[in-house]
């Protein structure tokens, strides 16, 4: 598996190279790059299967590298020191990322995920989706990538009625009556979708307020959705949910 490492700090490049050589020998590092131009050139020259891409590179970003490439038929593992800038968009695109200093176990997991995906690689649609999100910074992100067993689904947030936890899995209930199972915890999606107005009403429930019909007083508080579903509101969340619905 051909890989290119991109980071503006030499010690980070060297460290990642050492860890990969030791723990992921299947990764063949064909080049490293310390700036956007070098990175674009290296990618066009070597046509890698995978790039490790630092997000914050001085004045520029790893997203600039992607934007300059006409063809993006490779996988990306983002590497970032602090998960603020851009990481939200990366999460919405369901792309993989590592935090510095790189944890060996997380690195191994990420690489093996890429190995599984590599089989069917043409244009990487998740990257297209990511760049779209970065390019048009809307007040609220309008779509989310949901990794399914055999495909990535891009779902408009306005189409999501609610999410329900099933241990480390999450069910998405859509307006067209579809029910999707995604292998990430509800907590992760709650963290992603709460800034977009979704309400965590209960440890197992995340609700799109757009679909709330009424607040029923039964059992200490239940939300009736337009779909007819009744969603419990747990005590610790009551105030927050009430406030959010009042302010709509």
């Amino acid at each position: 598996m051909k890989a290119i490492l991109i980071d503006d700090e030499f010690s980070n490049l060297e460290n990642l190279r050492t860890l990969l050589q030791k723990h992921c020998p299947q990764v063949n590092i064909v080049a490293t790059a310390k700036n956007v131009t070098d990175a674009v050139n290296a990618i066009e020259k070597h046509l890698p299967d995978l790039i490790f891409l630092d997000i914050q590179m001085g004045e520029q970003t790893g997203f600039d590298v992607l934007n300059l490439l006409p063809k993006r038929n490779f996988e990306v593992i983002f590497v970032t020191a602090y998960d603020q800038y851009g990481i939200q968009a990366v999460k919405f695109a369901a792309l993989d990322y590592l935090l510095k200093p790189v944890d060996i176990d997380e690195l191994k997991t990420a690489v093996s995920k890429v190995e599984q995906k590599l089989v069917t690689l043409s244009q990487n649609s998740q990257l297209d989706f990511l760049l779209q999100q970065i390019k048009n910074p809307q007040p609220a992100i309008s779509k989310i990538a949901l990794p399914m067993q055999s495909e990535i689904r891009y779902i408009a947030l306005s189409e999501i009625i609610r999410c329900e936890a099933d241990n480390t899995y999450t069910f998405f209930f859509l307006a067209n009556n579809e029910k999707l199972l995604v292998s990430k915890s509800l907590k992760e999606y709650a963290d992603l979708l709460k800034p977009n107005g979704f309400l965590r009403t209960h440890q197992s429930h995340l609700v799109n307020p757009k679909f709330v019909k009424s607040w029923l007083k039964e059992d200490g508080g239940v939300l009736l959705l337009t779909s007819g579903d009744k969603i419990p509101i747990s005590k610790p969340n009551k105030e927050v949910v009430k406030l959010a619905l009042q302010q709509l």
Binding site: L99, L186, K235, Q246
Partner: protein
């Protein structure tokens, strides 16, 4: 013709000279309207002079019921061109002079209190039983005719000639004329009726009469004095005075009185005014019960709308207030959260640097993989502090404690265990972040640091009814509960818990500390959290 008029006029004048000698007091002059002044019998009582009916701006009414002889004079300011003036005098309906100019040679200067006027007499008249009308205008403004009426008769009472009722039905408007008995008319209003019309007899002084209506029971005036209308009724090519009175003027069934009285100088009305007043009783019956379904529906809707509007306004008000209150609560919550985050960030420097020292030790011992492992743990802990997330899942809190305790294990050789109840959904139950860490840190520092490998820490996440119970127990030497100085970590934690309780009012956090020689156990119960 000219000759006839002249002769006639001279006859009148000679007659009036005789009358003048009959005792007109020329020293006393009354305003008679426009440029006219008048003098009357020296003994005359009840001279009602120069009334101006409110809707007749150029008409002046002088009521002289007890005057026999009258002298009329015209007065000009000095700046007025008297040559432009013309006047007409009518006695009853017959013209005495028509459009006559002022005889310049007859004009004399008269000293009035403020200025000097030019004046001449228009004549002296026997007024008893007569009506003398003087019309005067300037040919510069021929439309502005000033009309002074000298009324030497008794003003007659007005007569109601008819009362008609107008109903609007599907077939159109329908008038019905009601019979008027002498003093009382019965009127029944049904839902179709719109108004009644009161029609007065025609007279030359219609402008003098005003109609009002009062409720006989309450004596309340329900129709203020109102002048007549013209245009609706014509009799013998003449417009007849009438007034439309809408049904809604009569709020209830009962007796009402129509009062028609002449307007005679209202600041000093005649004492015997009653002799001029026409009174007529209307006995009104409102058929309220016969409201049509449509009317009921309309009224119902109006009432509903009114109540709806009131309720709506109230609701909006209440809701606004509630929103205000909520915003206030929200603000308070934000303040508490700010305080909380500052408390959270104070918790950490203690162990962060100790952890770095632990990693340094591994590097020096050349344990590269271990150093990597602990470095990752260190990074995760640091990130947790810096991220300052409000809520983490139980699973995340468990990982954090695991990371922390493994790092502390590098320094002290104790053992630990984190037990979690099977029926807790660790991935999805959220708690405030870094909630247990300070207690665990206390357990390490004050509890078992000195005990080496014998030291043991047990952490448990368990469920008790709907409560989430978080427990930290150690087998250290304990501390006395009444000890004055608590560890910094403990006092910060207590502070934080009370702040959390001000946010989560319905699910209070209860902290119980049990300490003895055999160890310390801390129970943090999140009431009704699950």
């Amino acid at each position: 013709m000219k000759k006839t008029i002249f002769t006639f006029l001279s006859f009148i004048i000679s007659l009036s000279i005789v009358s003048a000698q009959k005792g007109i007091d020329f020293n006393k002059k009354y305003a008679a309207g426009g440029k006219l002044l008048m003098s009357v019998d020296s003994g005359a009582k009840n001279v009602y002079y120069s009334s101006i009916p409110p809707n007749q701006p150029n008409t002046y009414f002088n009521y002289l019921p007890e005057v026999s002889n009258l002298s009329i004079q015209i007065y000009f300011r000095k700046n007025i061109n008297t040559q432009n003036y013309r006047y007409t005098i009518l006695v009853d309906d017959k013209p005495l002079v028509v459009n006559k100019s002022i005889d310049k040679t007859q004009l004399k200067d008269v000293d009035m209190p403020d200025e000097v006027f030019s004046s001449t007499s228009l004549g002296t008249f026997a007024i008893k039983g007569k009506i003398i009308t003087v019309l005067a205008y300037s040919i510069e403004k021929p439309q502005d005719i000033e009309k002074s009426v000298f009324y030497g008769k008794i003003i007659p009472k007005a007569k109601i000639t008819r009362i008609a009722k107008l109903a609007v039905t599907n077939e159109g408007a329908k008038y019905s004329h009601l019979f008027i008995s002498k003093s009382k008319t019965d009127i029944k209003f049904s839902e179709e009726d719109l108004q009644i019309t009161v029609i007065k007899n025609k007279s030359d002084i219609d402008y003098l009469y005003y109609i009002s209506i009062k409720d006989k029971k309450t004596d309340e005036t329900i129709l203020e004095p109102t002048p007549w209308q013209y245009g609706g009724y014509v009799e013998k090519h003449e417009h007849i005075p009438y007034l439309n009175i809408p049904k809604r003027v009569f709020k209830k069934s009962g007796e009402y009185e129509v009062i028609i009285r002449p307007f005679i100088k209202d600041h000093e009305p005649p004492k015997d005014i009653e002799r001029y007043v026409t009174r007529h009783t209307l006995s009104i019956t409102l058929e309220e019960e016969s409201y049509s379904k449509k009317d009921l529906l309309v009224y119902g809707l109006i009432i509903c709308a009114v109540f709806g509007a009131i309720a709506g306004a109230l609701l909006t008000y209440v809701k606004k207030k509630e929103v205000k209150k909520l915003v206030q609560q929200y603000k308070e919550k934000e303040i508490v959260e700010l305080q909380l985050s500052s408390v959270r960030s104070q918790l950490n420097p203690h162990f962060l640097f100790n952890a770095l020292a632990g990693i340094q030790n591994l590097m020096n011992k050349n344990e590269i993989d271990n150093a990597n492992k602990y470095l990752s743990k260190f990074a995760r802990l640091t990130r947790n502090v810096l991220n300052n997330k409000e809520l983490v899942s139980l699973a995340q809190e468990k990982t954090l404690l695991d990371d922390y305790l493994q790092m502390e294990q590098l320094r002290f050789g104790f053992s630990y265990e984190i037990k979690t109840n099977d029926n807790l959904d660790l991935e999805n139950i959220e708690i405030p972040s870094m909630l247990l860490q300070p207690f665990v840190e206390n357990a390490v520092k004050h509890g078992i640091a000195s005990k080496n490998t014998e030291g043991k820490i047990e952490i448990a996440f368990s469920k008790n009814d709907n409560n989430l119970v978080l427990t930290v127990a150690d087998n250290g030497k304990g501390f006395s509960a009444d000890k004055k100085h608590e560890g910094l970590g403990l006092s910060l934690s207590k502070n934080r818990i009370s702040l959390l309780n001000s946010i989560y009012k319905e699910t209070p956090f209860v902290l119980a500390i049990n300490s003895s020689d055999a160890g310390t156990k801390i129970d943090l119960t999140l009431t009704d959290w699950l």
